[in-house]
Symmetry: C3
Subunit: 388 residues, 3 copies
């Protein structure tokens, strides 16, 4: 018991600090300080100032709503004079983080369930029923083959299919795009972000923006960087593409909103930055279903039960709003981790200099003698005497 107390006391009342050799030498001294300075500079300057190593980070949680505006008219032989408004060209009416604007279309009206000849291609053209396998259906066929070989037009015969008739002929797509005027439509993006870890939330309609400004402005990287209303044509241009080209086959545009925030500074400095990128990189040698399109139908019926539909293959531009970003705020953990490693790195300075002093300098033996005390395992005497 008493012994134990003694040990404890010894432990508590002792202070152990390493013995140091102080070498008074310009060369070595300066070198040592220089190395230390470098490491210190790195730790403070780079880790802390530049990379904000003292901050805890969190990634963004976001919610987006969009609203398109614009009207245009078309005048074609099939549809005649027709007005297109939001309800017509935005499909579906709403999505969570994206918005599809139809810019081109292949419309097949008054389709009914029935039997009709397939479109002619190398698999469907036939001489006689023998060429058509009943019940078969290829990847690109519009229906199920009946096994009969019928006239497609005066000259060509193709296999008959059970399908929505007449079948869609999407071989020729309108050029220029059917709704090329979409270039001037506008898109309002409302974005509300939240950093759960710091419970910090903000929206892309900044408090200092007036309603009158919002009613009139359109986004411009230079003049109006915080106006959340975008002209479709401008979005595509900013990504380095031509709207009219894109409108024909369709495509996908990413509207990227970056919310990098340093929450150690005032929240008014936490601002969205918009950028635009085309997401469907198209290269000529990978044109399997290039651009972007999908089919949908409007169904019509009569109390008689007779149902018919209008099939629309809609080409258009899907605008995906991609919100990302990191917020940083001072936190003790990362700070300490970096300080700790920094200190450890300072140790390197000594190691480095030791190598130089005790291996490279001509006075090395003299210095070594001072630093080291040799203890032979075997005869004790030596150990003692060798100590200077």
């Amino acid at each position: 018991m008493a012994g134990c107390c003694a040990v404890l006391a010894a432990f508590l009342f002792e202070y152990d600090t390493p013995r140091i050799v102080l070498i008074r030498s310009r060369k070595v001294g300066l070198m040592n300080r220089a190395v230390q300075l470098l490491i210190l500079a790195y730790v403070i300057g780079w880790v802390f100032v530049w990379e904000k190593g003292y901050q805890e980070t969190d990634s963004v949680v976001s919610s987006v709503t969009t609203k398109a505006k614009g009207v245009t008219v078309t005048n074609t032989s099939t549809l005649g004079f027709r007005v297109w408004d939001v309800a017509d060209y935005v499909i579906p009416a709403q999505e969570e983080n994206s918005l599809f604007i139809m810019t081109n279309m292949i419309i097949t009206m008054n389709q009914t369930q029935g039997f009709c000849p397939e479109l002619p291609d190398k698999t469907t053209v036939c001489k006689s029923d023998a060429n058509c396998v009943a019940g078969s259906s290829g990847t690109h066929s519009n229906g199920i083959a009946t096994g009969r070989c019928v006239l497609f037009n005066g000259t060509v015969k193709t296999c008959e299919v059970a399908a929505w008739c007449p079948v869609e002929d999407d071989s020729h797509m309108p050029k220029p795009a059917f709704l090329k005027a979409a270039e001037n439509f506008t898109l309002l993006v409302k974005n509300n972000i939240w950093y759960p870890k710091f419970n910090f939330s903000k929206r892309n309609i900044l408090p200092n923006i007036t309603t009158t400004y919002l009613k009139s402005c359109t986004y411009d990287a230079v003049t109006d960087p915080f106006c959340p209303i975008f002209r479709l044509g401008k979005i595509v241009e900013s990504a380095g593409h031509s709207f009219q080209d894109m409108a024909i086959e369709g495509g996908i545009m990413g509207i990227q909103i970056n919310w990098d925030c340093n929450l150690d500074r005032t929240s008014s400095l936490c601002l969205p930055s918009y950028s635009f990128r085309r997401l469907d990189t198209r290269d000529v040698d990978h044109n399997v279903s290039p651009g972007y399109n999908f089919r949908f139908a409007k169904y019509y019926s009569h109390l008689t039960g007779a149902e018919h539909r209008t099939l629309i293959k809609a080409y258009g531009i899907r605008f995906d709003i991609i919100v990302f970003g990191k917020a940083g705020k001072f936190d003790i953990i990362p700070t300490m981790i970096n300080v700790g490693s920094g200190l450890a790195l300072l140790g390197v300075a000594t190691v480095l200099c030791d190598v130089i002093v005790f291996y490279c300098m001509k006075k090395r033996y003299y210095y070594r003698e001072k630093k080291y005390k040799y203890v032979e395992d075997y005869e004790q005497g030596l150990g003692g005497e060798m100590d200077q």
Copy 2:
């Protein structure tokens, strides 16, 4: 060769440890231990126990499905007596992480393509055709101006437009909300989460919940914190808003599901926690398209080809299910990083005490003498003699 071996042997069979000065002093000793204790306490207590510095973390991958339930009736002059069920007020029928419930609407029936006068506002009211620019179309106009100035009603004349006629008049929105009964509709949220790094997956319908309970329960933060069925009214209240107010102009509610899990403990302790937040912060001075609404149309046609549509401007509440969270599990890397930095920090103790002992205490010269061994660069003799 032999020499090299000798060096290697020397390297292998040598053990170098710093020489230490042991100062037997209550003051210094205690101080030293105290500082060490503090740092140790910080490293262990804060980094490890509190911030779980020994854990590798991963963020959640989630999948959500929703299902609304509820029926209500309305009785208005325009629509007469009408029942509304899920298929009527959920638009679109399904979305990935969100659900829109229509609570209010402006319906414009039997629109057809044609020519009709614009709604009167400061830009559209006209005296003569001279006031109307043919082909022009403002941001808020419903069609393309024909250039004629026609009677809107007995007194007012406005520019005529080519549009879906009659044009929608959304100046007066129904108050109270058309489907105010939506407050009592219920929303079932099924959420399945996955932590790829730990291949841990779980769903918000917990294994210990019985089907009978699920059939009857509705979420309540206190009494039923794990019931995945929410009463719409309650969701909005929990976020501190009034459902009836919100129902009129619409809005966006975030249903946040937080899955913070400590996977070092049993998985049954990994539970979802629900919270609700309004995502469309509305302030009076930023009411550019306040709330949340969008337009969609139902298209009707006749074999004659005559097409008409019912345009609906749907106001409503979009419920975004936002799933987030981090899972932590013991991992050697972060542990070692923290241990390492911790040790490095312990070094600080010595540095601190050294400063005090060798610069502040009155016995400092005496102590220094013990700790330091001065080696002059110039005359060797001195170096040796100064060593005690």
Copy 3:
């Protein structure tokens, strides 16, 4: 001033390095090196080689488009012979990160607003009007009770409701699934990913894939791991479920695309890896709305204003494309942090050996004497003499 300079000079031109005891002992030496080796091995081998501790990481930003292909026919008493194509079974026509394929359905045709008896169940069956509360509406009821008790069929009487009549009877769902042929439909997934921090983007249609290959291939984990076209049946099988079972009640399949990339190596090694998981874990004792389904309606009307609808309860499989992954690239910060901590850990070696040498070995007193220099706080003399 001069003094200050002297101090500064002293500080600059001094080099302090700890004094070392070099113990020439096989045992201790080897032990020490061994421990150091272990720690070094850990730091280099594990932290750097295995866990890539020298890399900065970033998580993926992704954009997905999907396209389904396939046609089938059904022949039922209610609908007769009918062809189903993409526009019929994909609902809605497009979504951002997922695609719903209808595989089964309960169709209720020609519903009109009106009054009709509820489906019989324990709450709706009635003897007389007394059993029916006017205006009441349960969770599962199809309308608002009128308070009358009417004949449902020859034998059973149920409460009358104001609803879309006739009310849907979803008690019997078709087995096998109505569109069981969906098993052979194919799904093309186009995925474009981006790592903002490294501004690295790539798509899942790899540059070395030819168009002809894309036209013909279907994904197979072994033979075609990079073909982005999936057979629905195969997806479900890969997740260990039966498509035909799943098709009946519906469900949710996760198509997981993992983009783990080491950007220190050539970008052609950054490849997607696909995996499949069923997201609606179904267990018999939690079958509250099992599988996946939703209701939607097609509305029909006549210039008379009479509106009727076809209500469809669509069961089907929703394919969620879940993209995740981390990219790593060399960065100085994490490297230094790890190096720092590594060095600090090396310190542990000395501590460990010290403990053994100075507390466990029989020669410990002799060694201690060499290492330590005892300085008594009280009488100076002793301190000096005790120094060897």
